[in-house]
Every structure is written in structure tokens, then in C-alpha cells.
């Protein structure tokens, strides 16, 4: 079930209504049932897969906590089991394809390549990471979830099931134990997040996506402006798409009384790449830090060891995104970027003059600009169909060889679309929300307006209706899946 589909529009209010009307003791069971219904809406049999993974991890968690002498072996079994499931469903075809490519390359084509046709279960990358986090933390000494229902709900919770944010079980079960209670503030913020997410996804992401897709399918025909629009557009498309998904997920959870972690914190304002990864897909980057980078040695050890750890983490992070070499290259590119960013930071720290400059605004904004440029380039590896296209796009970005009489279709599409006005409207909204001024009048106005808005149901209803209408008006006529659903 897609968050931006009509089915979800019916499903979510029904679940919210029944959830809050239901006696407290049945709520978790109800949510569990709703989550499985949500998941099985696509391919029902994959509900069994998530159930099977849940049962196995539940018992492994209990086993690790109970049998202290066998905890290591149980942990390893659990790890292999989860990674095995992930590899089988996500990487089997990629692996066989790669092996056969090597065979082909060395001229050994005696046998027919076996056809692997496995449909990737939705969200497998996310829930296997949650399972790995669970068994690792239990192995490290945290207490396991004793109640199977609670554990199953942690694994299947529908607002975060398909594309995260990757939850931490300690935070989630605390909410289950304490029983969620209805709070108007949470409910309001839930509606706000859902609407904001839908706006980001349907109004900005999908409309931008149509232009970007056109550009990336006409790579060799694009002049320099078209290329820049397509490349920059993709970086923002993926942000609006994914952060839109996260907002809808977090909003849906808030409407049910649950809190799930944030995933984005103004990533395009990051002044360097390390900062960027602290702001972008935060639940994944902290997962990679805690369960991959630190176990590899983290920042301890020689500079070369740290560089190696960073590179391995990002390469695997890239591979996690998708079973294709361009994702690995994208991860490697980011790994190299992080290494350079860290080395540059160390270099600057050595010299007092440079360190002083680092505190200036000019330094900061230059950093933001360079980080953005890096992200645009990295986005090419993520989105382009092959490396040849990446090369063509890189050349087009610097207008090499100079193009003269080529059509400006992407620019035309962009200007004719609703994207520019939607972006302006969204930026104005963000600006209004984020302006903090000491001016008395401004403070009085904003605080007063906010209070009035909160205390006036009619105004809130009118605002929600207006935003819903705007989403309806600007959204494309067909529903586009979220980009991160494929991971």
C-alpha cells in the first residue's frame, strides 16, 4: 500500500479511529493486524516472510539473553540469518549476474546463466536492519522484548515498515509499555506531518520527477541548462520523495500516538559531507555508524584505518541502497568524499589562521556550496542509467563539447510545470516557520497567530482543507511509488 494512494487515504483514518476507540489492551493487537494488512496488500505471501523473520529473531533475542554461554553463537546465527535473508531476496540475482559477467569477460560461457526471478519484498532492507540492531543490542546486554506481540509490532509497525525511519527497539517498546495516550498536540502535529509529506512527495517530488526522468532518458540531447536542471532536480526530487515519505510515516505514527525518529534535518544546509550525513537519512547513518563503522574500528586507530573504515562503511551503505554497481560506486564516491572532508578538517585544525577563518560566514557558505556540488555529482551515479551516461552528463554540465542548436526541452518542461511556484510557496512557508526575530512586533504576531490557530478548530480545519486541496490540485494524475520503496 502506497502512502500516496487512495487506499491509504481510506486505511489510515479507519485505523486511527478504531485504534483510539478500542480498549487500551487491544490496541497493540489491532495495530499489529493493521500493519500486516498494510504489508500484505501488495503480495500477501510476503506477510509470511516478515512473520517468519519476526519469530526467528524473537527467539534468537530471548536465547541470547537466556543462554549466556551460547550467546555468541546465537548472535552469529541471527546475524547470518538476517543477512542471508537480505542477500537472498535482494542480492542473489545481482550476484549471479555479476559472476556471469566475469565469466563472459574471461570468455567462459559454457553454461546458460540461471534465471533468478525473485520479487524483492517491500522494506526488507529496513526491517532486517531493525532485526540486526535488536539482536546486536541484546547481545551487548540490553534486555530483550519478552512479549511477542510487542516484538512483532516493533518489526511490522506500518508507518515505518517499508522505508523507515529505522527504529530503535528501546525507544519503541518504551511507548508500548507506557501505553500511548491521545494528545491533541501530537494529533495536530501528525496531521501537519502527513500533509507536509504529501506536499513534498506529490506536489514537489513527483512533478520534479517527471522533468528529471525526461532529462535522464535524453542524456545525449541535453544542453548545459537542461543538464543542470535535471541533475539538481534529481537531488531535490529524491529529498522531497524520501523526506515526504518519512513525514507521512512519522505523521501516521503520531496520529496513533507513537513517536518515531526523525530522518532529515535540513541536509542541504550542511557545510561539509560529515555534517550532511548527520542530517540526511539520519536513522540509516546512525545505524551504519553503530553497527558497521564502530565495529570495524571506528575513528580509533591509524588515519589509514579510519579511512578504510569510512570507505567500507559507505561502500556497503551504497550496496544496501540497491543491488547494482552504480549504487556501490555512489557509496564509494561518498566514502571518498567523507575521507577528504575529514582530512581537510584535520588539516585546517592544524593552522590557527585557517581555523579562525572557519568560523566566518563566508567559509560556512562556501562549504555549503561545495557540499551541494558534491551531492549533485554523486546523484549522477545514483540516478544515471550507466557510467557512460554519467560521463556524458558531466561533460554537459561544463558544456563540453559546446552545444549550440540543441532543444531546451527540460528547461521548457520545468518552466511550464507547477514546480517553480510550488517550490517558492514551500520556501516561503519554511521561511515563515524558521524566522526567529527579536523584534517585539514580529514575536507578538507569530506567537499570537500560532496560539489563535491552535485554539480555533475552524481555522485548523480550513487550513487542512486548503492544503489538501492544493495537494490534490498540484499532484500528477497517476500515483508514483516512492523511490526508496525499491530498496
Amino acid at each position: 500500500m502506497l502512502f500516496n494512494s487512495f487506499t491509504y487515504l481510506v486505511f489510515l483514518p479507519l485505523v486511527i479511529l478504531l485504534h483510539w476507540l478500542m480498549p487500551r489492551r487491544f490496541r497493540s493487537w489491532f495495530l499489529l493486524g493493521a500493519s500486516y494488512l498494510f504489508y500484505m496488500n501488495w503480495i500477501p505471501r510476503y506477510g509470511l516472510l516478515i512473520l517468519f523473520l519476526t519469530v526467528v529473531n524473537y527467539f534468537i533475542g530471548l536465547g541470547i539473553a537466556k543462554h549466556t554461554d551460547k550467546r555468541k553463537i546465537l548472535f552469529n546465527i541471527g546475524l547470518c540469518f538476517n543477512l542471508g535473508a537480505l542477500c537472498f531476496f535482494k542480492y542473489a540475482a545481482f550476484l549471479i549476474d555479476s559472476i556471469w559477467s566475469v565469466f563472459h569477460f574471461v570468455g567462459w560461457q559454457q553454461t546458460v546463466q540461471p534465471a533468478i526471478n525473485i520479487l524483492l519484498p517491500l522494506g526488507i532492507s529496513f526491517f532486517t536492519f531493525e532485526f540486526i540492531h535488536y539482536i546486536t543490542d541484546v547481545y551487548k546486554g540490553d534486555s530483550p522484548i519478552r512479549n511477542f506481540k510487542d516484538f512483532a509490532l516493533f518489526a511490522a509497525f506500518f508507518p515505518t515498515q517499508i522505508a523507515g525511519p529505522i527504529k530503535r527497539y528501546q525507544d519503541f517498546t518504551k511507548q508500548l509499555v507506557n501505553h500511548v495516550t491521545f494528545k491533541q498536540v501530537d494529533f495536530r502535529s501528525g496531521i501537519f506531518l502527513v500533509l507536509q509529506g504529501l506536499y513534498k512527495k506529490m506536489v514537489l517530488g513527483d512533478n520534479l520527477g517527471a522533468i528529471v526522468n525526461y532529462g535522464f532518458t535524453h542524456v545525449s540531447e541535453m544542453p548545459v541548462t537542461d543538464t543542470w536542471i535535471a541533475v539538481v532536480g534529481f537531488t531535490f526530487q529524491i529529498f522531497f520523495d524520501f523526506s515526504g515519505y518519512t513525514d507521512i510515516g512519522r505523521g501516521s505514527a503520531a496520529l496513533l500516538g507513537y513517536k518515531v525518529p526523525e530522518n532529515f534535518n535540513w541536509p542541504f544546509l550542511a557545510a561539509n559531507l560529515t555534517d550532511f550525513w548527520r542530517r540526511w537519512h539520519m536513522s540509516l547513518s546512525t545505524w551504519l555508524r553503530d553497527y558497521l563503522f564502530i565495529p570495524l574500528g571506528g575513528s580509533r586507530g591509524s588515519p589509514w584505518a579510519v579511512r578504510r573504515n569510512l570507505l567500507i562503511t559507505m561502500l556497503l551503505g551504497g550496496l544496501w541502497h540497491g543491488a547494482a554497481w552504480h549504487y556501490v560506486i555512489w557509496g564509494g564516491f561518498h566514502g571518498l568524499g567523507l575521507i577528504i572532508s575529514k582530512d581537510w578538517h584535520d588539516f585546517v585544525s592544524k593552522y590557527a589562521l585557517l581555523s579562525n577563518w572557519r568560523t566566518t560566514k563566508l567559509w560556512h557558505y562556501t562549504g555549503v556550496l561545495f557540499t551541494l556540488l558534491f551531492l549533485f555529482l554523486a546523484g549522477l551515479f545514483f540516478r544515471a542509467n550507466n557510467l557512460h551516461d554519467v560521463w556524458i552528463l558531466c561533460c554537459s554540465m561544463i558544456d563540453f563539447p559546446a552545444s549550440n542548436a540543441l532543444p531546451h526541452d527540460v528547461t521548457r518542461l520545468f518552466l511550464q510545470s507547477t514546480v517553480p511556484i510550488s517550490i517558492i510557496a514551500y520556501c516561503l512557508f519554511l521561511l515563515m516557520r524558521s524566522i526567529s526575530s527579536n523584534n517585539y512586533l514580529w514575536r507578538y504576531l507569530t506567537e499570537h497567530t500560532c496560539r489563535y490557530w491552535s485554539n480555533t478548530p475552524a481555522l485548523r480545519l480550513a487550513t487542512y482543507t486548503a492544503v489538501a486541496l492544493i495537494i490534490l490540485g498540484f499532484a500528477p494524475s497517476t500515483v508514483t511509488p516512492f523511490i526508496y520503496f525499491q530498496f
Partner: protein, 318 residues
């Protein structure tokens, strides 16, 4: 003493609460109305600024089923882009006078969305290109094309349209663009009569004469008859356009929406007690028609009136 006070208070309180509750209820309603009105105006302005909701360009018509809204500014973003106004006669074209200037050779273009060509600018429609090329190739002559194309029209509707409106322009030639889909839409089978689009249908009677069957139009009279508010909204409100467009897309793409809409329609019909869909009645019973025979007869009828050029185009294969 205490009990007296309590009694006094409890006697007074309900009165105060009641007055207050009444006031709050009244205030809330007024507030709701005022805020909704402000929201509607703001959204309408925003939609107009952004050029959204302007793709509502058809209105119900008792004779044709549907027709263009005269003078409507249409902003089209599906499969291309255009931002042009329908002319005063409801044609996707510039204004044309009924009487042509001396020495002008007028060509009427009949067809469906292919002729209408909302996906491109008015100056890039094939009609305009044809006009420019003809005038360029024959500088001594003056050619003028008139675009009668309307999305989803059948060949039958085009004939009715020509007789009703097109003939007034006294064209020297007609270019009829059609495909098999248009032909199929000119006839209705007894099986599809209930769910088919309201439009004039045609059949060949047992004497070989082409006849019009307007029973489906008659059955949909309530839906097609002029409705001041709806027609005004259709022409002037971008919000109405957005809602209608969303309804269309959801009906097309979302099975659950179709199901819920079906239930709602049944409920409304049941509530309106005895006004369900009227089965299209016809005095002429006729067997299911061969659509190509009907199309030939339709074309023949036009050929008698004016010089006719046929353009048959193939639908792209899925």
C-alpha cells in the same frame, strides 16, 4: 448556608452555561463559515496564479452529450502543455466570423482530441500548420481552417456538431479525422446501453436509412440539463476543476475509489427514492450495429453536403 449557596449556584449555572454554549455554537459555525470562505478564496487565487485547475473545459450538452465551454481559459499539462482560451463559439481556435471574407477557402476540421490538440499550443495544432503551409504554398489564395475538434467525440457527434454549428461557417471543404475508436463510439449495443456515455448514437434501420438514437441522451436528461451553479463553477472555479479532475483520475486509476463511489451513488439513488438511473428507452428496436457501416453512412451524409477529405489514423499499439 453552604447548601443555600450551592443551590443558588446550581440554579444559576445551567442558565449561564446554556447561554454560553449557544453562543459558542453560533460563533463556531460563523467562524467555520468565515474561515472556509477565506480558505476557498486563497486557494482559488493560488490555483489561478499557478495555472492549476484549468483543464476543465467540457460542459454537458443536451444534444451533443458534451461540448467545449465557450471562452474558457484552458491550461493543459497532461502529455504536453498549452495555455489558450476557447473561442466565443466554444471552438479550440481563434475567433471566426460566420461569413467568410471573399476569396477565402474555408476548411472545417472535424475530429476528436487529435484535432483538438490540447497537448500543444494553439499555433502548433495541425490545423494551424496546415493553414500556414497552404497560404505559403499558394500566396494568391487565402486559406482558413476552423478547428471543430473536441476530445472524446465520436464520428456521430461530429456529424451532429457539423449540422448544428459547422455548417453555419459555410466551409468549402471538411477534413474528417477519425479512427476505429470514434466509429465504435457512434453506435451503442443493447448490452452497453446502461453504462455508455451520453451522446447521440446512430443506427441503420431496416430500410437502410441512417437514424439517430437519442435515447441515451434522453435518459441522462437530468445530468445534461443546464444547471446554473454547476455550469458557473465549471467555467469559473479552478477548485471545481481540480476536484472534477481528481474524481476523473481516481475513477480511472483507483478500484477502491470506484467501489466507494458506486456505493455512494447507489445510496443517493436509494435516498432520492424512485429516481435511479433511467433505462434508456428507444422506440426503435434495432439489432447491434456494425460500426463501420454506420460510419460509412455518416460520411456519406456529409459527402452530400460538401467536399470531404478523410484522414484515418491508427491508434498507437499498447
Amino acid at each position: 448556608m453552604l447548601s443555600t449557596v450551592t443551590t443558588t449556584e446550581s440554579r444559576q449555572m445551567p442558565q449561564i452555561t446554556e447561554e454560553k454554549a449557544h453562543y459558542i455554537w453560533w460563533q463556531l459555525l460563523l467562524q467555520g463559515f468565515a474561515f472556509c470562505a477565506i480558505a476557498v478564496v486563497l486557494v482559488e487565487v493560488y490555483f489561478r496564479l499557478a495555472g492549476v485547475g484549468g483543464s476543465e473545459y467540457l460542459q454537458p450538452d443536451l444534444q451533443m452529450g458534451i461540448r467545449h465551454i465557450p471562452g474558457k481559459l484552458v491550461i493543459w499539462r497532461a502529455e504536453g502543455f498549452s495555455n489558450n482560451r476557447m473561442n466565443g463559439a466554444g471552438l479550440r481556435d481563434n475567433e471566426h466570423t460566420l461569413n467568410k471574407e471573399p476569396g477565402t477557402y474555408r476548411i472545417a476540421l472535424l475530429g476528436d482530441s487529435v484535432v483538438e490538440a490540447l497537448q500543444v499550443d494553439l499555433n502548433d495544432t495541425f490545423g494551424k500548420i496546415l493553414e500556414r503551409r497552404l497560404n505559403k504554398a499558394n500566396p494568391s489564395e487565402h486559406y482558413e481552417t476552423i478547428n471543430f475538434g473536441c476530445g472524446s467525440y465520436s464520428t456521430g457527434q461530429e456529424v451532429v456538431q457539423y449540422e448544428r454549428e459547422g455548417a453555419k461557417y459555410k466551409p468549402d471543404a471538411i477534413v474528417l479525422v477519425y479512427n476505429r475508436g470514434d466509429s465504435m463510439e457512434s453506435v451503442v449495443t443493447s448490452k452497453d446501453r446502461k453504462r455508455t456515455e451520453p451522446r447521440p448514437y446512430f443506427y441503420i434501420d431496416r430500410f437502410g436509412q441512417l437514424k439517430e438514437d437519442d435515447s441515451v441522451l434522453a435518459a441522462n436528461f437530468d445530468k445534461l440539463k443546464p444547471n446554473l451553479l454547476r455550469d458557473w463553477l465549471r467555467k469559473n472555479s479552478a477548485i471545481y476543476g481540480v476536484i472534477n479532475q481528481a474524481d476523473f483520475s481516481l475513477t480511472l486509476n483507483e478500484p477502491l475509489y470506484r467501489k466507494i463511489k458506486g456505493w455512494v451513488v447507489s445510496l443517493v439513488n436509494a435516498a432520492s427514492n424512485g429516481r435511479p438511473y433511467k433505462e434508456a428507452q428507444t422506440n426503435h428496436t434495432y439489432p447491434d450495429q456494425d460500426e463501420m457501416l454506420v460510419t460509412k453512412a455518416l460520411i456519406h451524409c456529409k459527402q452530400k453536403l460538401v467536399k470531404l477529405v478523410m484522414l484515418d489514423y491508427k491508434l498507437p499499439q499498447p
